[in-house]
Amino acid sequence: MSERIIVPFGPQHPVLPEPIHIDLVLEDETVVEAIPSIGYIHRGLEQLVQKREYTEYVYVAERICGICSFIHALCYSQGIEHIMEVEVPDRARYLRTIWSECSRLHSHLLWLGLFADSMGFENLFMRSWQLRESVLDVFEDTTGGRIIQGTCKIGGVRRDIEQEKLDEMHRTLDPFEEKCRDLGDVFLNDETVKYRLQGLGVISKDEAYALGAAGPTARASGVAMDHRETGYAAYGDLGFKPVVETAGDCYARCAVRVKEVYASIDLIRKAIEGMPDGAIDVKVKGTPNGEFFSRAEQPRGEVVHYLKANGTKHLARARIRTPTLANIPPLVKMLPGAQLADVPVVVLSIDPCISCTER
């Protein structure tokens, strides 16, 4: 009979860029139970909505998370636009789509790098991050910021991308995709990676659905759920199909993200080709009154911004449910059965974004 021991994992752990704490109950080397606790970077952003004007809160919404910043701002703006019944111009919708997909690219490449690092594949980590920098360069050229873009605003976008820049982006997409495919090939087909990931942290389709998993974590288990299918921004015009895998293990979660990188490149290409002319914003007047659950698809899954406005320039309440919070219950179910050495890989496979989660 083996003894049970509790190993604290985190908050400051070399594999985790962010503080999350998990108490692992081990029997020999196998995890029996995992209890997460968060709160190391809780700031209280939801209350800040009462101190900032609804137009200024876009900046705060962007800073909920530095990785998916654009999509947070997009989701927030779409919610306010719905409440105020503002119609966003077509060009703004397309620009928002391009930037959303760019941030998905940058987030997925970042995650692939970190994931490779957690497996001990240092070279792949560096390659992914090197590739990611070219996405950040596009961000800097088109928005002026590398990771906090600051271009989304209520009623449209703040900056336009000129036609020459769009053409240049379109030209560079092909070589970029080729590099991504080389990299993705390693993640998908390399024997060592497969050996490390297959059959690890399995979660079945029914379980993932019942636990409320979101994003790639759900799609890797076969739940075809991607909020982009509802066609917000310009996704409705671009013919979007979600990427779904069925195995539900770490390898499937990795494969979903690799394939989403390809899908994102494709969406950017289509959006550049179909870019309509016209204004990029409409003037928004007055104050919002009403409530709405605004939803958008982040790199990590579905994000919900519940916005309640009371007719003043300060919102009454913003409640932000981020995908990582929804993915914590599946993580708790995934960990039992894994070896201690595999815990970092399993934890990273849900792509934890703690500053999102704790707000």
């Binding site: 900046y59 800073r63 600051g150 703040r158 087909n189 390399d190 024997e191 060592t192 497969k194």
Partner: protein, 130 residues
């Protein structure tokens, strides 16, 4: 042959030059849109206070009586709202970054604009309303 997936990338690395940007030797990469830091021109400011009200993190403070325009660089998030909202073009965005500092200090400028005696209605107030 699943074990040689990385070979292609590795070979390309060996053949290609270094990927590193030689930062201190070569200036940092910027684009015309880069939001580096905010520059203030005290000679054109009319202390309308719009920048200070627009600032989402209250980095800018204006004292109309003392004719002072202050910016706390450590609070500024370089969002560019003040630049876009300034009706006189006194606040501009520069591409280069503000260097690291050892002391946390507030930058202070004295506004040179002198309010005209006439018309009797305060122009400052009109600007705020605009």
């Amino acid at each position: 042959m699943g074990i040689f997936q990385m070979t292609k990338t590795v070979l390309r690395n060996i053949a290609g030059g270094p990927a590193t940007r030689q930062y201190p030797a070569v200036p940092a990469r910027t684009s015309p849109l880069t939001r580096g830091h905010v520059v203030f021109d005290p000679s054109t400011c009319r202390s309308c206070n719009i920048c200070s009200r627009k600032c989402p993190c209250e980095a800018i403070r204006i004292d109309k009586e003392e004719k002072i325009w202050e910016i706390d660089r450590m609070r500024c998030i370089a969002c560019g709202d003040c630049v876009e909202s300034c009706p006189f073009g006194s606040v501009t965005m520069e591409q280069d970054y503000f260097p690291p500092v050892m002391e946390h200090a507030v930058e202070r400028y004295t506004i040179t604009y002198v309010k005209p005696e006439k018309p009797a209605k305060k122009p400052v107030e009109e600007d705020t309303g605009a």
